[in-house]
């Protein structure tokens, strides 16, 4: 057990190193930050001097090594654009993204499971078929287009909901929340629908197919044959057995929500880390870009590691399989 855990943690660390290298080299080549930092009346001498102070004149491996050693201590350097520590900026922006992701995730899970169960039970009904078809439209429309259309309809034409930003936020112990004001809640509606729609369809379709699978199992037929009420069969027995794979997939999808937030945040000008990242690309703010990607990688690798270890702990068959493979 311990050997397996150590091995997996080691593998994760290698993954992080590689992602870090990839991310860092990407940014090193994307553009030159110096041009964004100096004004119109700069001279060649100004440019050279700034390159030296930023360490951009050093060989690439040296830059990467410095970046890694600092990152390991939680120090991602200073944003070229804002002149502030990147970690401060990330902490400032994280609440916006996390709140948006939480609301989207909540919408996706509750509505997704509800519709999934419904379409599985009424699988030949008109409503269920209609929902399935509409859900395909949802999957076939790119997120950005949904966002644009929602803004056009609900903000510009109808004027019901704000078109951008988070509205008023309240600071609760260093965490700026939009949950406590009415404008903050209104501002959440359109972006969270945009962001959650795709995951919602995914969960709905997964629940539906898992439900269909379970519903044909013998014990369900047996339960029906015993004369249990349909409701009890559907929810107490079938849904419960569906949830294990659903929870797993949903866990993995959580990471995707945060990554897809880049697109939603761009469309809605939502002041989270995704928008920060896109803006950083625009201004070649290398420290911010590298830190964001490292953070996302740590998150994904972490989720993956936890899911793996959980499987290992729960499923004895897997344990036998793993040990047999080595």
């Amino acid at each position: 057990m311990l050997a397996y855990v150590i091995q997996r943690v080691f593998q994760s660390a290698i993954v992080l190193l590689v992602v870090g290298l990839v991310a860092f080299s990407m940014f090193r080549f994307v553009g030159d930050p110096v041009d964004n930092m100096l004004g119109q009346e700069r001279t060649q001498a100004d440019i050279e001097r700034l390159r030296t102070t930023l360490g951009l004149d050093q060989p690439f491996p040296v830059q990467y090594y410095k970046f890694l050693t600092n990152a390991a201590q939680g120090n991602f350097g200073v944003s070229y654009r804002q002149g502030r520590p990147v970690s401060d900026i990330l902490m400032e922006r994280a609440p916006a993204t996390l709140e948006l992701a939480a609301v989207s995730g909540f919408l996706a899970i509750t509505i997704g499971i509800g519709l999934g169960v419904f379409t599985a039970i009424r699988r030949n009904g008109f409503a269920a078929n209609a929902i399935m078809s509409i859900s395909l439209i949802g999957v076939s429309l790119p997120t950005f287009l949904i966002g644009i259309l929602l803004i056009y309809l609900f903000s510009v034409e109808l004027g019901w909901l704000p078109s951008f930003g988070r509205g008023e936020t309240v600071d609760v112990g260093g965490w700026s929340t939009g949950f406590l004001t009415s404008s903050g809640l209104q501002a959440l509606i359109l972006p969270s629908i945009t962001l959650g729609l795709y995951q919602m369809t995914l969960i709905m379709r997964l629940v539906r197919s898992e439900m269909l699978e379970v519903l044909r199992q013998d014990y369900i037929r047996f339960a029906r044959a015993r004369g249990l009420r349909e409701r009890a069969v559907n929810f107490r027995h079938a849904l419960k057995n569906t949830l294990v794979p659903v929870i797993t997939v949903t866990g993995l999808q959580l990471g995707s929500i945060i990554a897809f937030a880049i697109i939603t945040e761009t469309v809605f000008q939502w002041p989270g880390v995704g928008l920060l990242f896109i803006n950083a690309i625009q201004f070649v703010d290398i420290p911010v870009m590298a830190a964001y990607l490292m953070l996302i990688s740590v998150m994904f690798v972490g989720i993956n590691l936890i899911v793996d270890l959980l499987y290992f702990a729960i499923d004895p068959r897997l344990r036998a399989d793993r040990t047999a493979a080595h």
Binding site: T43, R84, I151, S155, W160, P162, Q186, Q282
Partner: protein
């Protein structure tokens, strides 16, 4: 569900907001620092002009008027300028303003780490005569010096010393990158970089407030379409810029006014004059047709600027014939308007130059720097194709664009130039003078244009005190630029601001937005 309830709440909230004299505005970029000496760029200087002040300032019509100095006069026969300072001015933190702060601000703004030091290249010394008199000595007579320092902002020397920010640092930032202490009409009460900046009026301001604001909030919105939606839905009172294509729609809205003007920025085409051969050609690889003035003129004649202005810019820009717009000081009134669209003459000139079938070449263009830059470049590419000038267009974000130009990777390129001094001498120094690092000349003359007459006249123009003689020399250089087709000026970039109907404000040609001229009705 709960949606209808929330919507009802939203309607109520908007109704409530109308009564407050609060003002919110958005622009595409956030000023990257609050330090007035760290970055010499329009978004920073424009924003900080609301917070800090210089010795002089520009009025609604761009004229120089007294600010922290009440009067100024030349010393002797052009040795420098004497400024008499305003008494009774205090900084936002309550400390008084005097000559020490001016000398300190000169040192800070002209220091090694400052991005504004090129402004002070003509200055040899700044002397504190007494508490309210300062002498600024120049190494050569400098008639336009007071005009060139409207954006030189004065910072409190004690505040800077106490907060360890006596020199700007654009890499790591200092206390002054996030905090401000100016003498201006507004003070920054909240600064969240990239998110929002909140300002409130400064009660002790020396001038009478022309505005009626109680609070102003600035939000950077990168996506122009989002900004337009925010203005239309009433979330924002003012946006700058309005995408040209949305101006008509906004103007038709009952809640929004569109204010148009022309900016100081001239959009033009530049050429690789000094290159020995084209870099991106399929057919002419051993010669540089753009070294021939006839070919450059053919480019100018192949482009129908009117069609671009009418369609791409939707009638909201004006054609340009010189490197500066007519609103600038030193604009040459003696020169003819720009030559018109004449593809036949263009073809004849190409044939004369030895390219009757035209040739192919590379055309570089930014895609996020100027209004509709990429669309304009595409339109130009199509127009040039009809006279046989087959451009292959390469449009890129501005972050890759400047390094490309600096590396000489172009045959032809698009450039916008806004003279920081609002004077025709400025583009001569940066775009026309033969590049010379030591003399800080021609630093944006990427194509290496070189003309002896222009080079000889430039230093004379810079030190000439007599307005008429100076203009005569500027007229000569303007006609040299025209006859050589050093650049092809296309149009003056339009200023299009979108303002909620209940707001009154003033649009200045340099695209600076001054809160002190805003009234909420």
């Amino acid at each position: 569900m709960r949606l209808p309830l929330l919507i009802a709440a939203a309607t109520l909230a908007f109704a409530g907001q109308a009564a407050a004299r609060e003002f919110s505005w958005a622009a595409t970029t956030d000023p990257q620092t609050m330090d007035p000496h760290a970055v010499n760029s329009a978004p920073v200087l424009g924003f900080l002009n609301n917070v800090y002040e210089g010795l002089v300032r520009r009025g609604r019509d761009m004229r120089i008027e007294p600010a922290l100095a009440t009067s100024w006069e030349p010393i002797g026969a052009g040795e420098g300028w004497r400024f008499v300072l305003r008494r009774g001015v205090t900084f936002h933190d309550g400390s008084p303003f005097d000559a020490t702060d001016v000398v300190f601000s000169y040192e800070r703004a002209s220091g090694e780490t400052s991005d504004t030091r090129s402004w002070f290249a003509p200055v040899s010394e700044v002397i504190r005569v007494d508490d309210y008199t300062v002498d600024i000595l120049t190494s050569a007579p400098n008639p336009i010096f007071p005009d060139s320092i409207a954006n030189w902002m004065i910072m409190d020397s004690d505040w800077a010393a106490a907060n360890n920010t006596t020199a700007p640092d654009k890499e790591r930032g200092t206390f002054a990158s996030l905090n401000t202490n100016g003498t201006g009409p507004f003070r920054v009460t909240l600064r969240e970089p990239g998110l929002r900046t909140v300002l409130e009026p400064f009660g002790e301001w020396w001038d009478s407030a022309g505005h009626n604001l109680t609070r102003a909030e600035f939000t950077p919105i990168r996506n122009p379409a989002t900004a337009v939606a925010a203005l239309l839905s009433g979330d924002i009172d003012f946006i700058n810029p309005v995408p040209v294509q949305d101006a008509a729609r906004l103007a038709a809205s009952p809640d929004v006014n569109v204010i148009r003007g022309t900016e100081a920025r001239v959009i033009m085409l530049g050429f690789a004059h000094a290159a020995s051969a084209l870099k991106y050609s399929d057919d002419v690889t051993d010669a540089n047709p753009f070294a021939d003035a006839r070919v450059r003129e053919a480019v100018a004649l192949s482009i129908s600027v009117n069609a671009i202005l009418e369609t791409t810019m939707r009638g909201s820009a004006e054609a340009a014939g010189q490197l500066v717009s007519p609103a600038m000081r030193g604009y040459s009134r003696t020169l003819d308007p720009r030559p018109g669209y004449d593809p036949d003459r263009a073809r004849a000139l190409l044939a004369e130059a030895g390219y009757p079938e035209g040739f192919s070449f590379g055309f570089k263009c930014p895609n996020d720097r100027y209004l509709n830059d990429e669309s304009v470049c595409q339109a130009i590419t199509a127009m040039l194709a009809r006279t046989g000038l087959r451009a292959s267009l390469d449009a890129m974000p501005v972050q890759n664009y400047w390094p490309e130009l600096r590396a000489g990777n172009f045959d032809m390129y698009l450039l916008g130039w806004s003279p920081g001094t609002f004077d025709a001498e400025h583009p001569l120094r940066f775009l026309v003078a033969t590049p010379d690092d030591d003399k800080k000349l021609g630093s944006w003359n990427f194509g290496g244009f070189s003309n002896t007459e222009a080079d000889t006249l430039l230093p004379l123009i810079r030190s000439e005190l007599d307005e008429t003689k100076r203009q005569a020399m500027l007229d000569i250089t303007a006609s040299v630029v025209r006859s050589e087709t050093a650049y092809v000026p296309l149009y003056v970039q339009p200023l299009i601001w979108g303002v909620a109907r209940h707001i009154d404000l003033t649009q200045r040609p340099d695209d600076f937005f001054m809160l002190r001229w805003v009234t909420v009705n």
